[in-house]
Symmetry: C2
Subunit: 204 residues, 2 copies
DNA sequence: CTTGTAGTTTACTAAATAGTAAACAATTGA
DNA sequence: TCAATTGTTTACTATTTAGTAAACTACAAG
């Protein structure tokens, strides 16, 4: 009972957009409220602080978008190597769309915010850590499946997954800094050759 | 003629320290002045803005520390593969020292600041871009030398260098976010196996 | 030793920002 | 319909912050 509202969702969306495009530190509560079309009083009705909003926004993004995307890209119905190739291809494609929309390469909000705030805000750090860990597990699982069917060389799957993920996030970061998606272009084949897949080529 | 001063250097050092430990956005001019023991009037005597200070601090750090370090780690007198192995080992060692000093993994200031500010501040973005590009060239040159003496597989050296650098920065970012240096532990061997070096092992 | 220059200090303004309190509005179930 | 509850709005305070102006200090060269 009582009044209904979508202000909370509007705030979550606006926060993620602004923080992704700009950065956590530079985005003010006023700016988030303005973008969301919500008054500051309402902001404080739903959230305790910018930090709490950021944590909620990252988690909401995973629940509402991220999880489905990763589930489908890493579906067990796809051959393991294809999952990985498709994932990197998808990363390139979606960054391209974002670049066209925003005029800039944006990279990964989770990693960017995490790196920015990790020494300052423990609750954000832990949430980012958690989400990134979930993502690494998709790699790990695909690698193990690939090792089982012989398409990926043997060796510690967890290590390989972390390595691939570091390569991925490092490339996204570079792409953001250089404002150039070329760094992501070659990732599908680079990733496969790192994994010791059959078809090896240039960047390995 | 006139009064002499080291305030400019004090400001450059304080700025790099604070921004590295915290982040660009969260560090105020007042905080930098306080850490440097310099009054704000003097700050504005030497610098136009926080942005200008950051650019100067990054460049000064390269000139006063970075360049010598990279020159010596990538000395032509060292076998190419050893240069790369030593570099990653050195990265681990120095991050360990920083972690003990600050109680946290700090990662790479250049990359962190670059990623944080790149969509907001073009002058910082360009300076970071320039410094990172210089670093990539050390990798590239070592890779080419390794290809010449047969210790590294053939293929586009520039691509391989970018790949290695992305892996490096991605690992530093992860280490900062997780506040855990284990990500850097295996980098020397991972890097070598990516390059197709003789001794291949776990993570490749 | 004095004069011009390089650097310092203080005290200030204006703006941005986080955060709050309390009156107000809408909705729903009893 | 009315009362309890949920959400909204406004107007406010206190603080932090960037940035400035002008008086002041130290030094080095002539």
């Amino acid at each position: 009972m009582g009044r209904t509202s979508n202000a909370k969702e509007l705030l979550l969306d606006a926060a993620l957009d602004l923080i992704w495009e700009r950065s956590y530190g530079v985005v003010t509560i006023d700016a988030i409220c303005e973008k969301a079309g919500v008054k500051k009083g309402s902001f404080y009705y739903f959230f305790e602080s910018k930090s709490a909003l950021a944590v909620a926004a990252l988690e909401a993004d995973w629940n509402d978008c991220g999880k489905q995307k990763w589930d489908s890209l890493f579906s067990a119905s796809i051959p393991p190597l294809d999952r990985i190739r498709n994932f990197f291809q998808h990363a390139y494609d979606s960054q391209l769309v974002l670049q066209k929309e925003h005029g800039q390469v944006l990279g990964c909000p989770c990693f960017s915010v995490g790196s920015e705030t990790s020494t300052q805000d423990e609750t954000i750090r832990l949430k980012v850590q958690e989400i990134l860990q979930r993502q690494i597990r998709y790699f790990e699982s695909a690698i193990r499946d690939g090792q089982a069917d012989g398409s990926i060389a043997t060796g510690d799957a967890a290590s390989k997954a972390k390595c691939l993920f570091a390569l991925f996030e490092g490339s996204l970061g570079q792409a953001r800094i250089q404002n150039d998606l070329e760094f992501l272009r070659v990732l599908p084949e680079t990733a496969l050759s790192i994994l010791g897949a059959a078809r090896t080529s240039s960047a390995a």
